[in-house]
Symmetry: C2
């Protein structure tokens, strides 16, 4: 592959001049410029990003470490991150941690080794030592969705508190009194926060949240199934289950059906994170929708601000309830909305 030297030789100028043309530095004569451009063309020359990065100490690359690519929420997040990054002239390398701290560590390490300009992280299980160290060492970093308290790192996330209150109101209005929750790992902020908000909302209705109605999941479908089976085995099973992510909701749906029971007749179901497929499940699932795309874009903007020396800002955006049929038939003034994306239009 042709290097800058070959171009210089072909154009009859020095490498310095070629470099100047490539980075359109002002002081190059038109003559030299056209000759260099011609040489670039005929040689099919493309600058070596590796060499450039070594010299300039910047890679124009962002690292994104997420907990689970197979989760449609994170897939969408990753997509919006890449889009915004591209618009700002950056590439993105995605590391999928699969909710495993060791894998998260692996990806943080390789990304750091590659000298990415900044790191976008949705930490699994309270984060890894490496990540904390990198944050403290001053690596530009932004947390997205989940975060780690006590670190001076901007956080871009959705606040589900109000939407969870709406959900509890919705469930209450539909006559459900015994409400249970499938929690995520307590070590993740989203894991604990959603339970907290749920508990507080219940308190507003004078309802307790007994320990038996708090199932411990890990954001994966299988745990949703397991926890829900536990609920169903209770002497007095809950009337409604709130799964704190979409995969666990799927597991819950499985578990309920496996007993020959029906949603919402035998048990109501709601989920945190809305995804296109929820419109098409049987029944369509009531969910709390995050502004995922906006979250991804805001996170990138914050990180790039930080990288380029501007003060980065934490961002919190509201989530909102999207009522469908999985909790029972809502009244007319329920916030019924299935028209969010083309895929979702016209159904349920």
């Amino acid at each position: 592959m042709a290097s800058i030297k070959d171009v210089a030789a072909a154009a009859g100028v020095s490498v310095a001049t070629v470099s100047r043309v490539l980075n359109d530095h002002p002081s190059v004569s038109d003559d030299a410029r056209t000759r260099v451009l011609a040489a670039v063309e005929t040689l099919g020359y493309r600058p070596n990003a590796v060499a450039r990065s070594l010299r300039t100490d910047q890679t124009r690359t962002l690292g994104l470490v997420i907990s689970d690519v197979l989760n449609p929420y994170f897939t969408e997040l990753a997509r919006s991150v890449e889009e915004e990054a591209r618009a700002l002239g950056y590439s993105v390398i995605i590391g999928n941690a699969d909710e495993r701290p060791d894998l998260q560590d692996h990806h943080v390490r390789t990304l750091l080794d590659r000298r990415i300009d900044g790191l976008l992280v949705s930490p699994a299980e309270g984060g890894s030592p490496l990540m904390l160290e990198a944050a403290r060492a001053g690596t530009p970093m932004v947390f997205v969705d989940r975060w780690i308290p006590g670190l001076d790192v901007p956080v871009v996330r959705a606040d589900g508190r109000a939407a969870i209150r709406d959900l509890v109101a919705h469930l209450h209005r539909l006559g459900h009194r015994r409400l249970a929750i499938i929690a995520g790992p307590a070590a993740t902020t989203t894991g604990s926060e959603r339970v907290e908000a749920f508990r507080e909302a219940l308190a507003e209705y004078g309802a307790p949240l007994p320990d038996a109605y708090i199932g411990q999941g890990d954001f994966q479908a299988e745990s949703g199934r397991r926890v829900t089976e536990g609920f169903l085995d209770l002497p007095e099973p809950p009337e409604a289950v709130f799964a704190t992510d979409n995969l666990m909701a799927l597991g819950a749906l499985d578990a309920i059906r496996a007993r020959g029971l029906q949603v919402p007749r035998d048990m109501a179901l709601a989920a945190f994170d809305d995804i296109p497929w929820f419109v098409h499940t049987d029944p369509p699932i009531t969910a709390i929708a995050q502004p995922t795309g906006e979250l991804g874009r805001a996170a990138v903007r914050a990180l790039v601000d930080r990288i380029e020396g501007r003060p980065p800002q934490s961002v919190t955006l509201p989530a909102r309830l999207v009522a469908r049929r999985s909790c029972g038939e809502g009244r007319a003034n329920d916030n019924r909305d299935d028209n969010q994306t083309p895929v979702q239009r016209s159904t349920s």
Copy 2:
């Protein structure tokens, strides 16, 4: 960030010795080795992958250019690719082309600029000039899922021919005679092949495939909706629709429901590509399942073989029919299988 020079200074040796220790070259004294290792430890030194890549002319990175990350099929593919690559000591950079040739070009270009060791591509729309050029220039490359004929590039893909024949048999057995298809872009191999196989399978039953029953889609949900609406507007609408990817199937489902019609009573529906959610839709959708994970792993192995100088092999794996309820109730000897992954167990 500490460099190899700092380590050398701290350990009281030359950079060459440090490098030798790091790459565990045999001829280093134990004394030097321990001193270097100690210095590495206290400085928290990590080698700069950028510098190393420049010198060694290899990045131990694979590029993966796929057509649409939001499509669960490709998400799963990407995940298995990353897994296998990691096992072989490589990283993966994913480029999402969103079915747009210009974006595909953009990603191929940046990946090439970064001097990735090899490229895994699922070409959108017949591929870009850049890609063809790279292939001809000898960039290690492997096609996965889709490919471009006439290029000396190994292909790793699933053969859906037999499964499509099974599907047609299944539909025929259930009494459906007027069968339509939603095709993908003709410029993609998967787009044209699936139509071809469908046509041939129909021919075995003496059935034609009239042009009116071939809808032109683009592998996105919206096109599935549009095409299906066209089918429904026909004086004699088809009795069954076969969508050649999962997103178009979703669009079709939408379109059918929007008219107040039911699947499979009013129209049967089947899809190419099986995904976990198909078990949970209303009704569960009959689909042709590709061995996605195996495809991704085989593609990485082929590419790494090519990179490391071993002869790479093209691989073709069979797809298979997974009958569910969207085409009508099958007989007992139908190949009913909902037990592929934990998420899918026990339902439909």
